[in-house]
Symmetry: C2
Subunit: 217 residues, 2 copies
């Protein structure tokens, strides 16, 4: 499948690499055509890994991953272009972390609590099918659920039922997820993005990002 990755950080790198490895045609997008991290990323990956601008990556893809920093996601999507996003599935992996108050980060007030990054992206691009998932864990666990042994959950939410089904299949078949918790429409993103503060706290306490949430009932 043709996949676009917006963002050249650890998350975009990990998801992009996994998808290339699985045989997908992945284009990594950034602000410029000569981004150093994207240029480095395509090396030795063969013809299925390419890079370009945000717009190039979005235009290329049937499914787009938003792996940009939450604080600049709306700006990156603007550069990707409404026409290139229209009708497509956008998997929003980003969190609206606010580093302006120092560490640990809080959440950007205008993108949290009474709204969420996922909701704001869906509002800005009503013809794009936004599915929020993968944002409650480390990027290596995202791509391989067995990085943490035992049973644990991944959350999914979005307004388009069909898009969610496609994303769930992808999570199961490509990334090995067995237990998917569907939180309903995109406003479920509020709760998953607000998991970040305890996630960051647990990361510090466990001295490892290799953990995940499970809902026991």
């Amino acid at each position: 499948m043709k996949i676009g990755i917006l963002g050249t950080g650890m998350v975009g790198n990990a998801i992009g690499s996994k998808l290339v490895h699985l045989g997908h045609e992945v284009k990594m997008g950034s602000r410029t055509t000569d981004n150093a991290k994207a240029t480095e990323w395509v090396k030795d990956k063969g013809p299925h890994a390419t890079h370009g601008t945000f717009a190039d990556a979005a235009a290329h893809a049937a499914i787009i991953f938003n792996c940009t920093s939450g604080g600049v996601s709306l700006e990156a999507l603007k550069l990707a272009g409404e026409e290139n996003l229209k009708g497509k599935i956008l998997i929003d992996v980003a969190n609206p972390l606010d580093f302006s108050n120092g560490m640990p980060p809080s959440l950007i007030p205008s993108l949290s609590n009474t709204t969420s990054l996922g909701e704001e992206i869906q509002k800005a691009y009503p013809k794009t099918k936004v599915v929020k998932t993968l944002n409650t864990m480390n990027c290596f666990l995202m791509c391989d659920s067995s990085a943490v042994p035992g049973e644990h959950d991944i959350f999914v939410c979005g307004n388009d039922a069909n898009a969610k089904e496609i994303v769930k299949s992808m999570l199961m078949e490509e990334f090995g997820w067995k237990s998917i918790v569907d939180l309903g429409d995109i406003s479920g993103a509020r709760g998953t993005e607000m998991l970040l503060p305890i996630w960051i706290r647990l990361y510090g306490i466990n001295q490892s990002p290799n953990f995940n949430f499970k809902i026991v009932k």
Copy 2:
């Protein structure tokens, strides 16, 4: 042990009833001496269940539970009185839920994200040992961890190590908790209070409050 319960709602009622049942001397506190719910609560519970003002309940107790609504907790504690809270363990069970934007509630901005209710209480009463716990679940599960089968976690945080140990013992011995996750100092309350939005969402989806979080690693 002499225990004070601040608040006459479902949470105070459930915790107070459990502690009376276990043989503790519990005084439920509210704004007035003739609160209808507190008067009802003491009925048929014998001499170990009494009620009075917030100040009466705090003065009576060695350990105090804050079971008031998060939005009025600081006001209730002011009525309880700094002198009556000094040197004591205050178990803060409340969440700063904001119902002013309708349902589902969000969190009160001045008590979340870059701070928390737990932290603000600790700041306001530096001589009180605030321990945040029990706020990430339904009140019946609080008092009996077996209400949800299997392994799942309760979070505890606070600045005073000794107070935390006493609270942990209480959680284990009185309420049956086996797996306690210590999140460090009181600023860990930020993460646990921010679990509420996903908890509320899951409550709606599961159509039951009988679930809990587990950290799998």
